[in-house]
């Protein structure tokens, strides 16, 4: 995969469901179309909820990376 620069990182590690998703939605709303936002989450619900929201809101889930004890979700605001 081509490396895509991240515009903003949200460190939501330690936040319980639905904190990480809510944080992501807030930042995406304020971002320009095309912006890449990365959210870090240690909440298990994020694994299903973040991809579900990204699909529903019709943005792009660029990648999901498992790290030590948390997951990084990279999302491009598509519209």
């Amino acid at each position: 995969m081509t490396e895509v620069a991240t515009d903003q990182v949200i460190d939501a590690r330690g936040m319980a469901c639905p904190g990480p998703l809510m944080s992501l939605i807030g930042v995406i709303r304020q971002s320009q179309v095309g912006a890449v936002v990365e959210v870090w989450s240690s909440d298990q619900g994020s694994a299903t909820d973040i991809p579900a929201w990204v699909a529903k809101a019709r943005h792009d889930l660029i990648e999901v990376v498992e790290d030590a004890g948390y997951t990084r979700f990279r999302v491009r605001k598509a519209r």
Binding site: G14, M15, A16, P18, G19, M22, I25, D49, W53, K56
Partner: protein, 140 residues
């Protein structure tokens, strides 16, 4: 971005923190997906929405037991779990979420509109609530 899936209507009767939290989480999830959410506060849930009452300790449902109560305390102590009223407030900012106080329960508890927290939008009867309940109706 309502896709015509209808309103999620929640008849919220319970006044314990676990059930209030479950309702707030469901609301946030639905609002995130663009669903309209209508909450009708009845009985002990309405009592929890009195001004100044939101963040008081409302206890847990009896089935929580000591182990369940300890698990909830651990979550809150970790700082990761947000209070249900915060989750509900975020959901209201995120989407079309309306919180109604049931008029009969207002009478029952002897409450006036000015006794309620600003998270409550208005007072209405069950018929008005059912009028907009064109999707799923859940009871908590």
């Amino acid at each position: 971005m309502d896709d015509g899936e209808g309103t999620l209507s929640i008849a919220l009767l319970s006044g314990t923190d676990d059930k209030l939290s479950a309702a707030a989480l469901l609301t946030a999830g639905a609002a995130a997906l663009g669903r309209k959410v209508d909450i009708l506060l009845q009985y002990w849930a309405l009592d929890a929405f009195r001004a100044g009452n939101l963040t008081k300790d409302h206890g847990l449902a009896p089935e929580a037991g000591p182990d369940g109560a300890a698990a909830v305390r651990r979550l809150l102590a970790s700082g990761g779990g947000q209070h249900w009223s915060t989750v509900l407030d975020q959901a209201k900012q995120l989407g079309e979420v309306r919180v109604h106080a049931c008029s009969l329960s207002m009478d029952l508890l002897g409450l006036d509109r000015s006794d309620l927290d600003p998270l409550v939008d208005d007072v209405e009867g069950v018929t008005a609530f059912m009028l907009t309940a064109d999707g799923q109706l859940v009871f908590i």
